[in-house]
Subunit: 341 residues, 2 copies
C-alpha cells in the first residue's frame, strides 16, 4: 500500500509509492518511447490496460476498439482506490494510507497525434472527459483534491509518448493549491473582490503580457512567471470550478487551448510541457473548519497553468522555492503573439 | 538590471533575469561540457573570469595560477551587487530591483576531480570558503538571505563541468526557507524545544533512516523524502548558523560530506545531484517585526539538503508542491549504508 507522509519541517505531504519499488539500478535506465505496435494506449491494444473506467464511444463495447477518448486506471498507481485513510502519528511524524485515485485519460486512439493538431471538436471531447471524471470522483468523501495534469514529452515526465492526461485524487490539499486558496481568501476578506478577477482586469488593460483573449477566456504570461514562456489560462468572468464549467465554456476553452498549444509548438519547436488545472478542492469534504470554505465560490477562480520545459531546474530553485527566469514575460508574450500559426 | 517580482497568487518572489536574454531559439541548444583547455575555471585560465573575490593561495598573486579554492563573481549574474532595492507597486503587483550577489566558488583547480574523491583536507578548505563568503556577505544590510548550493552534472543544472558551488544573496527570504523558519518557530513556541533536535533524536533512536552518524553530525534519509535517495545532514547538537560553525565542526562535516558523496557515487553510479545549505537568514536585517527573530538562535537548526537527480519531475509535482517518491527512505538509507566504499 502506498503511504502519505507529512514533513514537519516544510509542512508538506509526500506520497511514498514504494510498491513502485525503485532500486538504485532502476534509475539508470533511459525511458524509451514506445513504438505504436506495443503501445498499451493504442487502438487495438485495449487488453493491455486495466478495464476502462469511461470512454467516448459510438456504440462500441467497452475495452474494444472504436473509441475517441478512453479513461483507465493507472497500471502503476501512486495511490490506491481501496481502504480507509488510517491516519496515525509516529512520534513527531504523521502518516496515512495512500488512498486516492490515479487515472489515465487517453486523449486519442492515434499514437502520434499532437494535441495541438487535433480537431477542435476532439479537444472539446477531451475537456468534457476531464469534467466528467472530476464530477464522478468529487462524490468520494475521502478525496480532498483532484488534480488533472498533462505531461507532454519525456523531459516533462511522460513515460509513454501516446497523448494522455493524468488525474490524481488525493486525501489532502496540496501545498501550492492551499497557498493559492489562502491568498485568494485573504484578498476577498479585505476587498470583497476576487484576486484573480483583479489581476485579469489589470492584465487586459495593460495588454503587454496577453497572448490571446476571446470573449470568454484569456491566456497570458504571468507577471512573476517562474519559467520562460509560462502561460496562465483562465475564464474572464469569475468562475470557481472546472467541474461546473458549461459545454459552451469548454468549447471556448478548447479554442484557446488549441491556439496556445499551436503557438508554443511553432515558436518553441514542439517543446516538452506540462499543464495543470487548478480548481477548487472538494468542498463537500469539510473536516474541521467549515467556515473556511464559506466564500470559496466567490474568492477562488479556476485556471490552467502551462509550463514549457525549456530549462533544467537547478539547486537554487529546489532549495528555496525561488526561481530565476531568463525570459521576461512581456517578451515571451510578444514572441507567442507574433508567431504565425 | 535584473528584477524581482512578487506573485500575489502563490505569494513568492521570482528573479526575472531578462538580461540573460533567452529568446525562443536559445532554449534549443544542448549544453556542451566544456573541455579543460577552454574551461574558465581551470588553473591558467584565470584571465577568462571576472577578477577574484577571494582565494586560498600559498603566497601566489590574485588572478594568477597557484590557488586551491577560488571565488569569482558569476559572469552572468542573476542578481547585481550595485544599487538600491527600489521597491514599488505596479497595480496589484510588487517589484524591486534585482540587487544581490551571485558568486562562484571554484572548488579545485582540477577540471575532472569529483568532490567525493578530493582529500578530506581539501573538502575542509571548500567548506571554510563557504563560511568566509557567508560572513563577508552578511555584513551587507540589503541581503536577507544567502544561499549556498552545488549543482553536480548537467541534469542537475550545472552548465560547466568543472567542480564549483554557487552562492546567491537575495533581498528576500525564499519561500521554502520562510516555511522552515515558521514551522521551527511554531514548534519552539509550543514546546520550547528545537523541532530539528526532536526529529534528530527520534531518528537516532529508530535508526532505520540513518545513513551515517559521527559524534558531531548525522546524515539520514528524511521520513517524508520528496525524492528517492534524498539526504539530510545536520549537526547533532543544536546550532543555528553555518556562518558560525567552528573549524572543528567543519572538519567533521567534511568527513560526513565526503562519505555521503562517495556512497551516492558508488551506489547510484555518480548521479547528478544538488546540495544546499539551509542556515538562518541575515538577522541583522529586521525590517518590521523585530520580535519575530528573538528566538531564532534557539529554534532554527542549520542543515544541508542533498538531492540526487534520479527522476524527471513531472506536472503533478510542479502544479502542487506535492511529490511522489518511488523509493521508501528506509530502503534508500539501507542501500546507502550497505554500499561498500
Amino acid at each position: 500500500m502506498p503511504e502519505l507522509r507529512h514533513d514537519p519541517i516544510q509542512r508538506r505531504w509526500v506520497i511514498i509509492a514504494a510498491e513502485r519499488g525503485r532500486r538504485p539500478s532502476d534509475f539508470l535506465q533511459e525511458v524509451i518511447p514506445t513504438a505504436s505496435e506495443s503501445c498499451p494506449f493504442c487502438e487495438g491494444n485495449e487488453s493491455k490496460t486495466p478495464p476502462e473506467i469511461a470512454a467516448i464511444r459510438n456504440g462500441t463495447r467497452p475495452n474494444q476498439p472504436g473509441w475517441e477518448v478512453r479513461v483507465i486506471p493507472n497500471k502503476f498507481p501512486a495511490l490506491r482506490i481501496e481502504g480507509d485513510l488510517g491516519r496515525e502519528g509516529i512520534g513527531a511524524y504523521d502518516r496515512m494510507n495512500g488512498v486516492g485515485a490515479h487515472e489515465v485519460i487517453i486523449e486519442t486512439p492515434q499514437h502520434s497525434l499532437n494535441l495541438a493538431d487535433a480537431p477542435l471538436e476532439h479537444i472539446h471531447k477531451v475537456l468534457r472527459t476531464y469534467r466528467e471524471r472530476l464530477l464522478d470522483l468529487l462524490r468520494d468523501q475521502r478525496f480532498k483534491y483532484i488534480l488533472i495534469f498533462k505531461n507532454h514529452g519525456t523531459a516533462a515526465g511522460a513515460s509513454l509518448t501516446h497523448p494522455h492526461t493524468q488525474l490524481i485524487a488525493t486525501p489532502v490539499t496540496p501545498l501550492t493549491l492551499a497557498e493559492e486558496l489562502n491568498s485568494a481568501k485573504d484578498h476577498f476578506r479585505e476587498k470583497e473582490r476576487c484576486l484573480f478577477c483583479d489581476l485579469i482586469r489589470q492584465e487586459l488593460e495593460s495588454g503587454e503580457r496577453i497572448i490571446l483573449a476571446t470573449d470568454k477566456f484569456v491566456a497570458l504570461a504571468p507577471f512573476a512567471s517562474r519559467f520562460p514562456f509560462e502561460i496562465f489560462i483562465a475564464p474572464r468572468q469569475h468562475h470557481h470550478s472546472f467541474a461546473e464549467a458549461s459545454d459552451d465554456m469548454l468549447h471556448n476553452l478548447g479554442m484557446v487551448l488549441k491556439e496556445v498549444l499551436l503557438r508554443i509548438k511553432k515558436c518553441l519547436k514542439d517543446p516538452p510541457y506540462n499543464y495543470l488545472i487548478h480548481t477548487i478542492p472538494n468542498v463537500r469534504v469539510r473536516p474541521r473548519r467549515a467556515s473556511y470554505w464559506d466564500t470559496i465560490e466567490q474568492d477562488f477562480h479556476w485556471h490552467i497553468e502551462l509550463i514549457p520545459r525549456l530549462t533544467q531546474v537547478a539547486g537554487f530553485e529546489w532549495g528555496t522555492g525561488f526561481y530565476i527566469n531568463p525570459t521576461a514575460p512581456e517578451e515571451a508574450a510578444k514572441y507567442l503573439r507574433e508567431t504565425e500559426i
